[in-house]
């Protein structure tokens, strides 16, 4: 069972690597935010499996907080950072 | 002062909200009985504050409608994932990026639920609200999308015990 969890973790990290490629490539801010969102949900999956693999129940609470943070990052980014660059462009 | 408090205090709503809060605490603390020393007061205080800030909601949730919606949602999001996998793994990349409009009578919380769930169902993504409906981005031709959206709209209307919506 433990080796199965490890294989799953490796595949998840591979998926994260592909997401990093999109962050590097861009071309727009929107694509980069979506890749950051991918980091959030993959991170939750990694933490949940980690909690099971290492028998660390606290990792589940970390996953819960990470899920909330990923949402806040996207909302804050759309509201503040991106909106700000638009105002700059308009003026 | 008494008159003022009577306008927001509503015992049935308070009990429902406290029960929901208690369930939430029980899940978060993983059923640890000793945590109720903190949990019980927090839940009660939060329910009282929520009642003071948000008046009882005008929507009547229909439990059977909610269950049927949940079942449909699970099934449709499984289909959505398989659909995305099929399109991504195809060498020709059969994707058609287009915008369409959808007129709907839903407002408020039902509209919000409609927009959120639509983004997880096959081929639809809510972009913005317009004057009499929604602007939607779809991965397929709009004609294939419309009947699916009407189906979802009816499921949501049943969750909130609304009348069937005309189209």
């Amino acid at each position: 069972m433990n080796s199965l969890y490890s294989i799953t973790l490796v595949i998840l990290l591979l998926s994260l690597l592909m997401g990093v490629f999109r962050i590097w490539r861009g071309p727009r801010m929107a694509d980069r935010i979506m890749a950051a969102q991918l980091t959030g949900s993959t991170g939750v999956a990694v933490l949940l499996i980690f909690a099971e693999l290492q028998n660390q129940p606290a990792a589940r609470d970390t996953a819960l907080v990470l899920a909330l943070l990923a949402m806040l990052v996207a909302i804050a980014f759309v509201g503040r950072v991106w909106g700000f660059t638009r105002e700059k462009k308009d003026s | 002062m008494m008159d003022h408090s009577a306008t927001w205090f509503n015992l049935p709503t308070l009990m429902v909200r406290s029960l929901m809060g208690g369930l939430f605490w029980w899940i978060l603390s993983e059923g640890d009985p000793s945590s109720w020393v903190i949990g019980l007061p927090s839940v009660l205080i939060c329910s009282l504050i929520s009642l003071r800030v948000y008046p009882p909601s005008p929507y009547r949730i229909n439990p059977i409608g909610l269950l049927r919606f949940a079942g449909y949602f699970m099934y449709a999001s499984l289909i959505a994932g398989i659909d995305i996998a099929r399109r991504t793994l195809d060498r020709r990349l059969p994707v058609c990026s287009c915008m369409t409009d959808f007129t709907t009578q839903l407002t408020g919380l039902p509209l919000w639920l409609f927009m959120i769930t639509m983004s997880l169902l096959p081929g639809t993504l809510s972009v913005r609200t317009t004057q009499n409906g929604l602007k939607i981005h779809c991965l397929d031709t709009p004609e294939n999308i419309q009947p699916e959206l009407i189906r979802l709209e009816n499921y949501i209307a049943r969750v909130f015990s609304l009348e069937p919506l005309p189209h």
Binding site: L4, I7, I11, S15, L16, M18, G19, R22, R25, P27, R28, M29, A30, I33, M34, Q37, L38, G40, S41, T42, A45, I49, E52, L64, A67, L68, A70, M71, A74, I75, V78, G83, T85, R86, K89 | L28, E30, S77, G81, I82, I84, A85, R87, T88, L93, V95, C96, S97, C98, M99, M115, I116, S119, L120, P122, L125, V127, R128, H137, L139
Partner: protein
């Protein structure tokens, strides 16, 4: 090898592969809007499958509900942020782009 382990391995591996498909879609799809589609839907299903696999060897009901709660939270988060990014992209008139076309570049955004 009993049936439960086989079911669990199937759910875990297909869930992780679903994440990979989401990332692949993020790379392959032609424009911002279609990439949002790929990511939100594939990640939602991927996490759902992994959560189901983990629930299968948990005895405590509260813990199983906690995992479902985390899944629900991620689901709302990805749908909400997908919608917000699509809304902002539409606000900025980011153009649609079909497969095979090259995406027009915005000079100002690439510094």
């Amino acid at each position: 090898m009993n049936l439960l382990v086989i079911l669990q391995s199937f759910l875990l591996i297909s869930g992780a592969l679903m994440f990979c498909i989401g990332s692949l879609g993020l790379i392959r799809f032609p424009d911002t809007y279609t990439r949002i589609h790929a990511l939100t839907k594939a990640d939602n299903l991927g996490l759902g499958l992994i959560v189901l696999a983990l629930i299968l060897n948990i005895e405590s009901v509260a813990l199983a509900l906690k995992l479902l709660l985390i899944w629900g939270l991620v689901m709302i988060a990805s749908a909400l942020s997908g919608h917000l990014v699509a809304w902002e992209a539409d606000e900025q008139c980011i153009p649609l782009c079909q497969p095979g076309e090259t995406e027009p570049h915005l000079e100002s955004e690439n510094e």
